[in-house]
Structure formats: C-alpha cells, structure tokens
C-alpha cells in the first residue's frame, strides 16, 4: 500500500465492525475505546453507550482482579496474553450463538490480549479479541464425558 486510499480504510473499518469476533480496545484505566458489532449484538449494549465508560462500571459481573492480573503483564511487559475457555469458560456472559440447537447455555470464549503501543513505544492501550469457541468446548467436554463413561463400563465389565 504505497498510497493510502481513504475508501480502502473505510472498507477495512467496515469489516472490523462486522467481523464475527469481539473486538475491544481499552486504555490503562479500563475505559472502553472500541466496541465492535459483535460486542454490541451479543451484549445488547450499543457502542455509543459504552465507549468512554469504565469496563468494570459497565459490566459489574466481570472478574475484575483476574482481568487486572492478566492485563498487567500485557501493559508492563509489552507481551500478548492468551486465555482459554479451559481456564475460564467465558469472560462476558453471552448467550449461545445457536440458541435453539446448541446444547451449552452460554458462549465459551477464548480471549487474546494484545499490547497496543503509542507513537513513543509505550503500551498505553490493549486490544481484546473475544472468540466464540462454544463448538470446540462442547465437543471436547462431550468427548471427555464419553471417555469417562467408557472407562467405567470397562471397569464394571471386569
């Protein structure tokens, strides 16, 4: 991209808004700076109502100390962090994306925390990416359950 086309950037922004993963940008005080459509639609709270407010004020059921812990190393060490549904099934309590045929009550989430640095190189914002991994999680849990039952069956057969 030698010449930056404003229209290309608009198209890119349009995709970021519509992409089917959650995108959030937070500053050091956990003020919400970016909130895309995925977040709006799953939380039921529109961007204009959350941008500029504090994440923990807005969502008071979030595990605050856990989240502060996870993000500390991202800010301080300028290093990405990943959390998986095995650690914590979800951060934002969203409904299952398939409310009729899905078996889980909520959306399992993997989360990536990215350091975002300003022009002088200091990390003053973080980007959070929220992935819906419900299908993977449900599949894995079902497999583990099946294995457990198989083991017990084998035991009782002896």
């Amino acid at each position: 991209m030698s010449e930056i086309d404003v229209k290309d950037i608009q198209r890119l922004l349009g995709m970021l808004r519509a992409i089917d993963v959650g995108l959030i940008v937070l500053d050091e005080d956990f003020t919400i700076k970016v909130w895309n459509d995925f977040m709006t639609n799953h939380s039921g709270i529109r961007g204009e109502h959350v941008i500029g407010t504090n994440l923990f004020d807005r969502f008071n059921d979030l595990p605050e100390s856990w989240l502060r812990n996870k993000t500390r190393s991202v800010f301080q060490l300028n290093n990405s962090a990943f959390t998986t549904w095995e650690q914590r099934p979800y951060l934002f309590k969203f409904k299952n994306y398939r409310p009729i045929t899905g078996t889980a009550d909520f959306m399992y989430q993997n989360i990536t925390f990215l350091p975002l640095s300003s022009a002088d190189g200091t990390v003053d914002h973080i980007g959070m990416i929220v992935y819906d991994v419900t299908d993977v999680a449900v599949g894995r849990l079902a497999l583990e359950q099946a294995n457990k039952e198989l083991k017990e069956l084998r035991k009782s057969a002896h």
Partner: protein
Amino acid sequence: MPTKILITDDSSFARKQLTRALPSEWDVDVLNAADGKEAIDVLLKDAPKVMFLDLNMPVMDGYETLEAIIKQDIEVIVIVVSGDIQPLAVERVTEMGALVFVKKPIKKEELSEVLRSHAIFDLNAKVVAAKSTKALTTLVSETVKTDTQEGYQEIANVAMGRAADLLAKLLDSFVVMPIPLVNVIEVSELRMAIQQVDDNDMVSGVCQGFIGAGIAGEALLIFNEASYEDIADLMKYVGDIDEAVQVELLMDIANILIGACLKGIAEQLDISFSQGHPLVIGRHVKVDELLGQNASRWKKTLTIEMGYKIEDKNISCDLLLLFTEDSIEPLDELVSYLID
C-alpha cells in the same frame, strides 16, 4: 601498536558478529576464546587490554570467569556482552568488576558509543590508524554451513535471554538459563532431545502454533508439575492451588515464555509471526505420554530447546521450538543475511 582485545563467546557466530561491530577505525588485534577457561589462558599469556565476555558458556561461564579474574588479579577491562539481560545479571557482573554490560546482539553504533563513553576508544580523539583487517578476513572465510548452525544457536540465545528477562520481571526472581540446544532431529527422537525433564516427572504441556515469512512451527512448553507451589507463591496466588489455579499459572508462564521467545527470534530475523491460540495438550502426564499423544505428521524437525530454572526455587520448565522441515530453507536464508 594495535590494542589487543579478547572476545570470549562459545558461539563463533557471536564472536564474528562482535568483531564486525567493532569500530573499523580502531586498530585492534582480535583474540578469541570459546569459554572462560580458554579466556583465562589467553589473558595470562597475551595480556589483552579489553575483554568482551559472554555469560552463558560451557566449561566455565562468564560469572566463573569474572571470579577467576578477581582471584588471579588479572588486569583487564571487561565488557560483558550477553543475551541474559535480567537486571540481576547486570547487577551481579557489575559487582564482580565488569565495567559495562551490553545487550546482545550489539550494533556497531551502540558499541562505538559504549567504547567512547567509557573512554576505551574514541573515534574523534584518535588519528585513524590503519585498519586491522587480518582477524576479520580469516574469520569470514569459515564455511557457511557451520555459520548457520551457530547462527541459530546465537539467535536462540538472545531470544531465550529476552524471555528470561520478562519471566524474571513477572516473578521478581533470577532465572537461570543454560545454553539453548539447537538440533535437527527426527520427530521420533523428540523425547531424547528433552534433557531438562526426568522420565518420572509429572508434567503439563501447552503448545502454540506460529507462522510467518514461510516459517512455521509450534512452541511447546513442558512444565514440571512440582513447580506449581513455588510459582503460585512467587505470583502471589493465595489459597489452594486447585486445578483451575494450575491452568492459570501454566498459561501465564506459557504466554510470557512463548511470546517473548518468538518475538525475540522474529525481531532478529526482521520478520513477524502470527500466533495461534495456545492449547493445553496434557496434564498430570509423563513426558513420554505428552509427546506420544501428539504424534506429528512431520518427519524431521529443527528444534530449539531452552530450559529455564528459577534460582533457589523448585521451578523448572522446558520450552521447545519445533520448526517444520520446510521451514529450514527460508530460515537458513534469513540467518545468512545476518552473517553478511
């Protein structure tokens, strides 16, 4: 008369890199040593004025070398050049008489500045002497093949140092780093490549894929479960170390070590990697089971093994970077740019 200087590093790649970073106007006679023991011999025999010293070396490491220098009352200006950039490492070597500590890999401008600010060599204050190119030409003529192997070793060393630095900050402790091991092995020999873990240790494993610039692979963290208690203690987790806390700790360590290591490697090669989401691949298993369950489609793999231990604590883990066979060629090419 040229100034005699001694470069001590087990990696000939690192010695060459440093030799090239020397100000070309500096009239020097470069002597080389591959470990502390060789270095002491050279110090006693040739009495160089300045010594560049690596910390992680076999036979006799940098700390032991500094000790020997003090004990034998050898007069030499010591500049420590290390990939281990933990603040405590800097503090230790300075206490042991090193004049200055510089971070690997050092750039020409940085080195000139260090030499100038410590009044070892000032470009402007001296008349430009005839270049001492003898050492350089003999060094460059060595074969490329050993160069790339040494290159991997050195890149791994620097990346490992950065990861150790972050881990040390996270845990507020000193991280002991052995020399990283670089090997091209059959996947079936993977178990043998892992030297830090005993057969009977119970381990947990996390793996994370990475890809970029034609290079792909997986980072595999093997975490000794005996370490949980001490890690929890250092990270100020309170309460029971239940299953959930164990996974948290495991992921925290994996995030730091894998992230910093990959970033360290990518930065040196001037590329960037995309990282997939990490996956817990086994818990409460022996290392054989961990690797056995996760058999691979690749025959050969380039492995870099980095063992980490925390000083005075019962904490150890092993980070393996496994590169696919078809990554070796693009990697070789990138490493060869570093040498030219």
